[in-house]
């Protein structure tokens, strides 16, 4: 009987812990992904893309797909 009670208690504590952990994770996640998005849109981040106006090499030259990466 006592063992069952202790078991239920442990499960409840664990569940509470998991709940709190996911909660504390989720909040910064929204902040993080928003931050990441804004950072990726900064002028510095965009510079290399915009400089690629003219392709660095024609794709047909890249027969084996090993160049450039």
């Amino acid at each position: 009987m006592a063992a069952v009670l202790i078991g239920v208690l442990i499960v409840a504590v664990l569940a509470g812990g998991v709940l709190m952990w996911t909660r504390s994770r989720r909040r910064p996640d929204g902040v993080d992904s928003f931050r990441r998005q804004i950072d990726a849109l900064s002028a510095d981040s965009r510079r290399p893309t915009i400089d690629r106006m003219n392709p660095t090499e024609p794709p047909s030259d890249d027969e084996d797909g090993t160049h450039g990466t």
């Binding site: 804004i38 990726a40 849109l41 002028a43 915009i50 690629r52 106006m53 392709p55 794709p59 890249d62």
Partner: protein, 337 residues
């Protein structure tokens, strides 16, 4: 054979198609035209080659712009065009790249699904859409990462879209299915009505680029126009003045300006005041029309600046999303809440 998937960004414009390859840049830039055998439905040519055929084909060939009007007029042809496009830049069954496609923001839910499905069937591992003005703002290097009002006006062949963007999101949007093709059509109609000659759409476009304007400009020239006399059926030359062309296209130009004004009026006041200082950015081929920037400026009292990459801004913006896929995937159409 190319084995490695290189993710792609596609600006599927009503007039021009551009493709950006991750890590590489713009690898394709050509007219959105496809030439088909009318009887068999076989594709005969695409891009520049097909463009040269417009209005010059024998009866059994038809050269069409499947996206004309900013809507997908023929799903099957659009799908074939996307498939050919992906093949040409090296996509096969073995290389399944992620693809981001820019579409007019006015397209319907059904059209959206048609485009993404077409791209997936053509070999894309994943296909997502992004609004043209959003992509244009990214590519035109506007500070959209800041909490300030950025206004971008994209005048393309079949659509005119104006958007206010702040902190990476669209605040106000106004899209109309009126574009530079409508100016060509207006010139065609005018010449037919007033001079009694028939001209093709390519000739009308040449007239627009050569002497068309939205507002009086210095050093204006006349143009000689050759077409077919409607009465005699013989080739004939007439002279068109810039004033005449301005008159002919007035309705189209004023509906473009009206849509910019509607977008301005949708912007929250805090952002509205930013435009007075920062101006609005004009992109798209249709935005190159002489006097258009001045005309918008005159009617809105807001300064208009021209982007230095008017034709490439959209694909560069979408290309940037491909370069930073994980960080920017929240910007896809439908991903935002």
């Amino acid at each position: 054979m190319v084995l490695m998937a290189r993710d792609l960004a596609i600006d599927l414009g009503t007039a021009n198609t551009l493709v950006y390859m991750k890590g590489r840049g713009i690898v394709l830039n050509e007219p959105s035209v496809i030439a088909l055998n009318r009887q068999t439905g076989e594709v005969l040519a695409t891009g520049r080659e097909a463009w040269q055929m417009i209005g010059r084909t024998p009866g059994y060939i038809v050269a069409v712009r499947p996206l004309r009007g900013g809507a997908i007029t023929d799903f099957e042809i659009t799908e074939r065009m996307i498939r050919l496009l992906l093949q040409r830049v090296g996509v096969s069954r073995f290389t399944r790249p992620k693809v981001v496609i820019c579409v007019p923001s006015a397209i319907t839910e059904v059209e959206r699904r048609a485009v993404t499905d077409a791209a997936r069937r053509a070999g894309a591992a994943d296909a997502n859409l992004i609004e043209q003005p959003m992509a244009a703002a990214i590519g035109a290097d506007l500070p959209i990462d800041e909490p300030v009002g950025n206004m971008v006006i994209d005048i393309g062949g079949g659509t005119s879209e104006t958007a206010v963007i702040s902190l990476g999101g669209i605040v106000a949007l106004e899209a109309v299915r009126v574009g530079s093709f409508d100016i060509d059509a207006a010139i065609q109609n005018y010449v037919r009505r007033e001079h009694g000659i028939a001209i093709g759409e390519r000739t009308a476009e040449e007239i627009k680029v050569a002497i068309g304007s939205a507002d009086p400009t210095p050093d204006e020239n006349q143009a000689e126009v050759r077409g077919r006399d409607l009465m005699t059926g013989l080739p004939k030359t007439v002279v068109l003045t810039p004033e005449e062309v301005r008159f002919a296209i007035e309705d189209v130009v004023s509906s473009m300006v009206a849509s910019v004004i509607r977008c301005l009026s949708k912007a929250p006041p805090e952002l509205s005041q930013d435009f007075l200082v920062r101006g609005m950015y004009l992109v798209g081929g249709g935005g190159l029309l002489r006097g258009l920037a001045e005309r918008i400026e005159r009617e809105t009292q807001v300064p208009v600046r021209r982007s230095n990459v008017p034709l490439e801004a959209v694909v560069l913006g979408a290309g940037h999303v491909i370069e930073h896929y994980e960080a920017l995937k929240g910007m896809f159409m439908g991903a935002r809440r």
